[in-house]
């Protein structure tokens, strides 16, 4: 059943006269609205800036306080605190527990705590080996309180910190001062949404889809808020930024297509559900890591199906239609990619794993390139570089990979000369305004017209250009909502990225950290493609990135992104709220609605 049919079914006969009367009401008040519009614009800009600034300040204000999970009492008399769940013991300064003796290898062994509270010691291929109570450790062995570890000749007695002691520590730390109330930010965001909604009605005429979808957005937001508060969590700046981006996405989509709001709402709901589900499932590290292989396998299978059965839309054969819904499997692949790339600390040091991952990534990127979706391939490549660097820290590997890509790039350019043309108009798109530079020139022209304040949602013309609501989103934002709001959207993504970096030290496992960084880099890189592709200096994103439009269902494209971003901060909030059972355990809040974000930026998994 298509959406139009669905709407028609829901629309009772009475409503059409009601619609007409409401439309007439709006028309008759047109001059009043004309005066109100500038007021709305100014207020909405102030709100947007406030929301983003508050979130950023709050995110940056939070201090990451170290927790101590155990102690190692050395034979030298030193007492070394164990501050993470995954710790590298070694001579190197980048180790978590530094024993600076020449007999100790740079990365000697790893001391890792599991969900259940049990500890393991793993030898990382050290020269002198690791002894547990006198016997050599082969690969890994469990450690309990009182055990004596011998590392490079140094004896260390292991003493975990008991839960009682930990809560004493927490009490001693004191309450976290929170100068920025998140509920206020949520109120501001709600006000922002109402203003956008009102402006959309004024410009597009009365529209049930718009009203209902924004109502759904409000509702979902506040339900989420209530649930969070019920679980005694205090901070959800990242989610607020996501809801903000979602709102912008709703505005852009509603402006471009009348059907869009319904699909947006469906996608948002699905995204939130997926978000919550994944949050819960993946909080268990063992479960999370066990999922990697099946995910990788199904990813390759999905890409394979896509290559065989996929439809070509806008030049990229990257769409599948199932049960009336058209979507881009690459969105699901992104999730899998993020998780496949993560690794716990003990696995990080095995070269073999990195090579396996490189092979997997190569297959994904290659498949995407063969399907013609170079934009998604580029995003995957950026994420891949991040993962490889995080896992191996090895510049040589990165250099090798980059060289391979450059070669591949040359091959692609020679096969597809139109891409080379796009690069050729770099810097002088205005001379090619009616051919290769079409989209960029239109984007810049419309964007400049909007100034800092914008014409108001629904009042642009850029939306009439093909694929505007996906490829040219930045331009549409500038034109309709103004440069200030567009910049605040960029700032939101930047803030999420900064948050990832800052929270990395608080991560319980490098698995979550790597996943979060991968997801962040995908967000940032995708945003870069969108912004820079639609303005001068860079080829348009059009042929380059996946085309998405306003139909279809996006299946949690960036859920894992923010999922993972939030995942690493589990520990951070442990001092702020009591550990709760059930759906929202300590701090593993994953991002909602990257849905909205997906709508906001291309590759949203929809069909034209």
């Amino acid at each position: 059943m298509s959406t139009a049919e669905l709407i028609r079914r829901i629309n009772l006969p009475d409503l059409s006269t009601l619609n007409q009367r409401l439309d007439a009401l709006i028309e008759s008040r047109a001059s009043l609205f004309a005066y109100l519009m500038p007021v709305f614009r100014v207020i909405s800009i102030i709100l947007a800036v406030l929301i983003v600034c508050r979130c950023i300040r709050s995110l940056l204000q939070d201090r990451i306080e170290p927790e101590t999970w155990a102690y190692l009492d050395l034979s030298t008399g030193e007492r070394l605190p164990v501050r993470h769940w995954e710790n590298v013991i070694g001579r190197a300064r980048s180790s978590d527990i530094i024993i600076g003796l020449p007999t100790v290898s740079r990365s000697h062994s790893a001391l890792i705590r599991g969900e259940d509270g049990g500890w393991q010691i793993t030898d990382l291929g050290s020269k002198s080996g690791t002894l547990l109570n006198g016997s050599p450790v082969v690969r890994k062995a469990p450690v309990v309180g009182g055990d004596v570890l011998t590392i490079g000749g140094v004896e260390a007695v292991f003493t975990p910190v008991s839960p009682v002691e930990r809560s004493e520590q927490a009490a001693a730390r004191g309450k976290p001062g929170r100068g920025i109330r998140p509920s206020t930010t949520f109120f501001l965001l709600t006000a922002f949404q109402w203003i956008i909604e009102t402006e959309l009605i004024c410009s597009l005429g009365f529209s049930w889809p718009v009203i209902l979808s924004f109502a759904a957005l409000n509702l979902l937001m506040w339900i989420y808020f209530a649930v969070i508060r019920a679980l005694r969590r205090r901070g959800f700046e990242a989610e607020t930024l996501c809801f903000f981006l979602t709102t912008l996405g709703f505005s852009v989509a509603a402006s471009a297509s009348p059907d869009a709001p319904v699909k947006q709402t469906a996608a948002l709901t699905a995204g939130l559900v997926l978000f919550i589900g994944l949050s819960w499932y993946l909080r268990d590290l063992k479960r999370a890591t066990a999922l990697r292989w099946p995910m990788a396998a199904s990813t390759l299978a999905l890409l394979g199906i896509n290559m065989i059965f996929g439809e070509t839309i806008y030049g990229a054969r990257n769409w599948l239609t199932i049960a009336g819904f058209t979507f881009q499997p690459s969105e699901i692949v992104k999730i899998a990619f993020v998780y496949a790339g993560g690794a716990t600390l003990d696995r990080l040091f095995a070269r073999r794993n990195v090579y396996l991952f490189i092979a997997f990534a190569g297959a994904c990127i290659g498949a995407l390139a063969l399907m013609g979706d170079f934009g998604t391939a580029a995003i995957f490549f950026a994420a891949f570089l991040v993962i490889v660097y995080l896992r191996s820290g090895d510049i040589a590997t990165i250099a090798f990979v980059c060289a391979g890509v450059v070669l591949g790039g040359f091959v692609v350019l020679s096969i597809k000369p139109y891409i080379a043309n796009r690069f050729a108009v770099w810097g002088h798109v205005w001379e090619y305004a009616h051919s290769t530079g079409y989209q960029q020139t239109r984007t810049m022209s419309a964007a400049a017209s909007g100034g800092l304040v914008g014409f108001g949602p629904g009042n642009g013309w850029l939306k009439m250009i093909a694929a505007a609501d996906t490829d040219l989103v930045f331009g549409m934002l500038c034109e309709e909502l103004g440069l200030v709001v567009a910049l605040s959207a960029v700032a939101s993504v930047a803030a999420l990225c900064m948050f990832t970096v800052r929270s990395a030290s608080a991560g319980r496992s490098s698995f979550y950290v790597i996943c979060a960084c991968t997801a962040s880099s995908m967000l940032v890189f995708q945003m870069m493609l969108n912004v820079f592709g639609s303005v001068d200096g860079h080829p348009p994103e059009r042929q380059f990135c996946c085309k998405a439009s306003s139909k279809g269902k996006n299946v949690g494209q960036h859920v894992p992104a923010v999922n993972a971003i939030r995942g690493i901060t589990r520990r951070r909030y442990s001092g702020r709220f009591r550990a709760g059972p059930g759906l929202f355990p300590t701090g593993t809040v994953r991002h909602p609605a990257e849905r909205g974000y997906a709508r906001f930026f291309p590759c949203g998994g929809e069909s034209p």
Binding site: W85, T441, S445, A448, G450, L452, V490, A504, V535
Partner: protein
């Protein structure tokens, strides 16, 4: 864990690139946003490439171009339309120096803060009714332009009149043109006459002929100790450096004043040899005749003067205004303004003021001036130009105007008639006008161009 944490800093690199890119975009937006918004695909201000916001008016509020029913329209009177065509521009933008093309951001009301949101068309697709956009008042007086257009009577040429105290251009007519309400369809080659889209006053250069003698005279006045002592003997023709210099008549023995009034080629041929090519070039450059200047941002064409070698016939002809000399009419106008205004030229300008559609003034256009010559030289030239009229041209031809002028009959070869020039200014404080009249291939400067000038100036002074 620490190791991983350190490596996450790589993300900051990505972030830095994003921030750098945004910084570049914002910078470009601030410097080039007006050009982006003024691109004719922008539906907030254009429809089918036509500017559909903004009103152009003359100094008295006469509407020269407006928007009605979503389309650009022009003044009801055909004479007005034709006479201000090149100043106002056409819908399609073929006339690049017209107000509709050159002053798009002003008409659109663009500024970096509000973009075009206050003055552009917000509801795309609905007819714009001209209430949008800004009102741009040109300095032109449309009735004067009509008088000039009629005086040209279908001949090709230029009529420029400006106020030499303020620089305001009161009349800028260029011919040939067309009716902007009925522009020519350019399908067939040759069906469109040459040059109809060019504002010759700003964008063309012509052989000056005798009007260039003013430059030679200025050089003489400043560089020869007693210019009044100079004497030239004209016998109708003379061999100078192996080439024959021909004069209009046989003038006998003349001083410099009479030489200028009679426009004696022999005298000026000799004078050129005395002064030398380098000096003449220096004066041509100093008077702005060889470089372009800016009329509210519209660049004028640069003229040309080549310093011929001493002792050559070319040097003689160059001082007379032939040889390879070329001048732009507006540059000539500026020179007239300088002579009239004690040596200081107020740069000609075409924008008077601009207001929002509600009448709120916006923008600021301040007069600029540049000293081209000393007050003494200006006075000397001014007196000589007055003497031209009183002794040779005849006051009765310019009744009621205290006119100072110089004629020019520029030979263009190829068997064509010479260009007719008449340039000068009024010494009347109530009508402080400088003028340049050029009738292409019109014939005699005095009768043809002078006739046009007389009609135009009568109209100007009568207002």
């Amino acid at each position: 864990m620490k190791k991983i944490k350190q490596r996450t800093a790589a993300l900051l690199l990505l972030l830095a690139i994003l921030c750098l890119g945004m910084g570049i975009y914002v910078t470009r937006y601030l410097t080039n946003g007006d050009k982006w918004a003024a691109f004719p695909v922008n539906r907030h201000a254009f429809s089918n490439g036509e500017l559909t916001v903004g009103t152009v008016l003359d100094r008295n509020g006469v509407v020269l171009s407006d928007v009605s029913g979503g389309q650009r329209v022009f003044n009801e009177s055909k004479a007005v339309r034709r006479s201000v065509l090149h100043a106002v521009g056409d819908s399609a933008g073929f006339i690049g120096t017209g107000a509709l093309s050159a002053f798009k951001p002003v008409l659109m009301g663009y500024n970096p803060v509000t973009g075009v949101t206050l003055t552009g068309n917000t509801r795309i697709g609905s007819a714009a009714d001209g209430a949008n956009g800004n009102r741009l008042y040109l300095t032109l007086d449309s009735s004067l332009c009509v008088a000039a257009y009629k005086a040209l009577d279908g001949r090709n040429g230029v009529v420029l009149v400006s106020n030499y105290r303020t620089g305001e251009i009161l009349c800028m007519v260029s011919s040939p043109g067309f009716d902007p309400s009925d522009p020519p369809k350019s399908e067939k080659e040759g069906s469109v006459p040459d040059g109809i889209y060019i504002n010759k006053a700003l964008s063309s250069k012509f052989v000056p002929g005798s009007i260039f003698k003013l430059v030679t005279t200025a050089a003489a006045v400043e560089h020869i100790d007693d210019p009044d002592e100079l004497e030239f003997t004209c016998e109708g023709e003379k061999i100078v450096c192996g080439e024959k210099i021909v004069c209009e008549g046989v003038h006998g023995t003349v001083g410099i004043e009479d030489a200028l009034a009679l426009s004696c080629n022999i005298a000026y041929a000799e004078l050129s040899q005395i002064l030398g090519g380098e000096l003449l070039k220096e004066y041509a450059d100093r008077f702005g005749l060889t470089s372009g200047f800016s009329v509210n941002g519209i660049k004028t064409a640069a003229g040309y003067f080549e310093a011929a070698a001493d002792g050559t016939a070319g040097l003689s002809w160059s001082g007379i205004g032939q040889y390879t000399d070329l001048v732009n009419p507006c540059a000539m106008l500026r020179l007239m303004e300088a002579i009239a205004n004690n040596g200081k030229a107020v740069t000609p300008r075409i924008i008077g003021k601009a207001t929002t559609s509600g009448g709120f003034p916006i923008g600021l256009w301040l007069p600029e001036s540049e000293r081209l010559m000393s007050k003494e030289t200006a006075t000397a030239l001014s007196d000589m130009m007055r003497y031209n009229v009183t002794s040779v041209y005849g006051e009765k031809n310019f009744p009621g105007l205290e006119i100072c002028a110089k004629t020019g009959t520029a030979q263009v070869g190829d068997g064509k008639k010479p260009h007719a020039w008449f340039v000068g200014f009024l010494r009347n404080e109530d009508y402080p006008y400088a003028f340049v009249v050029l009738v292409e291939n019109g014939g005699s400067g005095r009768t043809v161009a002078g006739g046009v000038a007389s009609k135009v100036l009568q109209a100007a002074a009568g207002n």
